[in-house]
């Protein structure tokens, strides 16, 4: 993999981001009504004051002018100020990123730890009862609505059994390891289920392709145990096609975070998004959407680069 390819891949993200920003800006700013609606009906806010606020946020300018102003300041790292809280957008987002990364990271880890063994077992016992059961289960896993699963877990573990807190990041006054763990278990499980289901399928099919190859037979012929062959020889190559899917599923995790964080009152960027929707917080919504898109683009680039470096047969010119 040449440095040129890496650079080209990174540069290709720029027009993509520009296109995304134009579409998002148009959607947000052409919508009827606006962030100042909540003041217009307030008799204590005079017309002059309203105009002043509009001018302060640049809302009195034509939309294309607003876009270029936004783009200019975005490029120097100024993402504007939240209309709801008055604090810088970037500060707000970074402040909320922690809990989301915590939740997303944990569910990614859980997904890999469960999906890889399931995929391997399914592939090496191909056609068995266990394999077809796992196939059916994975179909159910991708078909289950996450918000419903979240409600069921809350119903069972919080309402019925009372084992786990139904929502929140930590108890008031709490915050120890056990307390935080008890809060993160359910949202992480909900977020993991769909990814476990789809990744285990991809690892299974990757495994099946690899296990039929000659070098695997050679490894057996050399006298390696099945476990040794599967783990040392097959898994690495079987994971290559799965890498792309895993990265692309990043988008699902972001989308899923909006639902999961809402149901479990998790103070991450998904909830921040819902809060900003309520206040029609334009700069905040724009910042969050750009952040989400940037995440997906980076995940895709990482997938391509990892793919190229894992599989020496792939040579990008």
């Amino acid at each position: 993999m040449s440095l040129g390819y890496v650079l080209r891949r990174l540069l290709s993200a720029i027009p993509l981001l520009l296109g995304i920003s134009v579409i998002l800006f148009a959607i947000i700013h052409l919508a009827p009504g606006g962030p100042l609606d909540m003041y217009t009906e307030n008799p204590a806010v005079s017309k002059e004051a309203l105009e002043q606020i509009a001018a302060a946020y640049g809302l009195d300018q034509p939309v294309p002018v607003q876009y270029f102003l936004w783009l200019k300041s975005m490029l120097i790292g100024d993402w504007g100020y939240s209309i709801r809280t008055g604090r810088p957008v970037l500060t707000e987002i970074v402040g909320r990123l922690g809990p989301t990364l915590e939740l997303g990271g944990l569910s990614l880890l859980i997904s890999l730890l469960i999906a890889i063994p399931l995929g391997i077992i399914s592939a090496s016992r191909r056609g068995s009862k266990l394999d077809s059961t796992l196939t059916l289960a994975s179909f159910a896993g991708i078909s289950i609505p996450v918000f419903w699963l979240a409600l069921l877990l809350q119903l069972f573990f919080s309402v019925e059994l009372g084992w786990l807190p139904s929502a929140g990041y930590k108890s008031i006054g709490g915050g120890g390891f056990a307390d935080r763990l008890s809060h993160i278990v359910m949202p992480a499980a909900v977020l993991s289920l769909a990814t476990v289901a789809s990744w285990s399928r991809f690892i299974r099919s990757g495994m099946i392709d690899v296990l039929n190859q000659d070098y695997i037979r050679t490894a057996y012929a050399k006298g390696r145990s099945e476990r040794g062959v599967v783990i040392m020889h097959a898994l690495r190559n079987a994971m290559i096609p799965a890498v792309t899917v895993i990265a692309v599923d990043f988008a699902t995790v972001i989308s899923g975070a909006v639902i999961t964080e809402t149901v479990f009152a998790w103070p991450g960027i998904g909830r921040l998004f819902m809060e900003s929707m309520d206040g029609r917080d334009y700069p905040m919504l724009m910042g969050l959407m750009m952040m989400g898109s940037l995440g997906i683009i980076i995940a895709n680039i990482v997938a391509d680069l990892t793919y190229a470096s894992l599989d020496p047969r792939i040579r990008y010119g």
């Binding site: 009827p32 078909s143 069921l152 309402v159 972001i254 989308s255 969050l288 683009i297």
Partner: protein
Amino acid sequence: MAETVLPLATIQPPQSYGRRVVKRFLKHRPAVAGLTFLVLLGVLIIVGPYFSPYSFDGQDFNLIGSPGPMSAEHWLGTDELGRDAMTRLIYGGRVSLAVGLAGAIIATFAGTLVGALSGFYRGWTDAILMRLTDVMLSIPTLPLVLLLSGLFRPSPPLLVAIVGLLIWMGTARLVRSQFLALREREFVEAARALGAGGARLMFRHILPNAIGPITVSATLAVGSAIMLESALSFLGFGIQPPVPTWGNLLNSASSWLSVAPWLAIPPGLLILCTVLAVNFLGDGLRDAMEPKE
């Protein structure tokens, strides 16, 4: 024409494509089960409301205040406004399925059109359309739908269009790759030599040969559309009450979760079963229409 009786010794003519597809499909048990479920569900939601003594927004004023339990009169209980939960569930199925089907149709049309133009004309058309596809794929879908729905407050038909226009990208990429391969085939060359124009080549000659993958992705799109609309309605940004959908039924049930769990279970179970049935159906169609022999 009268049916010709073939002598036993004659070699059977190859079965038609359609017949082979049906035969392979019937062997895929989950897909058959899925189809059966969907047909039964279809009958239930079309006919069901006529047999219900309640209307979807009819209230029993004696039961207002908190959800009522399951009983002989109200099989699945009543909600906090004294409405019959089962009637709302069945009626909500109409709305959810209609949104799913219509959204999938829009997505399939849009995706097929973009993919066909891209794969057939290549060059600049392809470059522009595929960059547009990339852009759409890079924006997180659910937040984008929430944004559009929250800011524009669309009517239900417009909401369906929005849902459809956010899930066409997979179909577009698929159709494009089909068209790129098929446009080089001899039958296309022959049709071109006979003077067929671009539109005729695309939709008369190439498209029918790509119908298998398109059908599969259209089927799967129904599941995505139902799921997306449910999520949207669950978060309160979809179709608004009093019109019930499975998603907004779950939304209102979630505030009564500890008091009336019986309201929260049926809508989610139906979403799960429907999407599962659709996914099985798609899988069966894939095996039947695109055999990997």
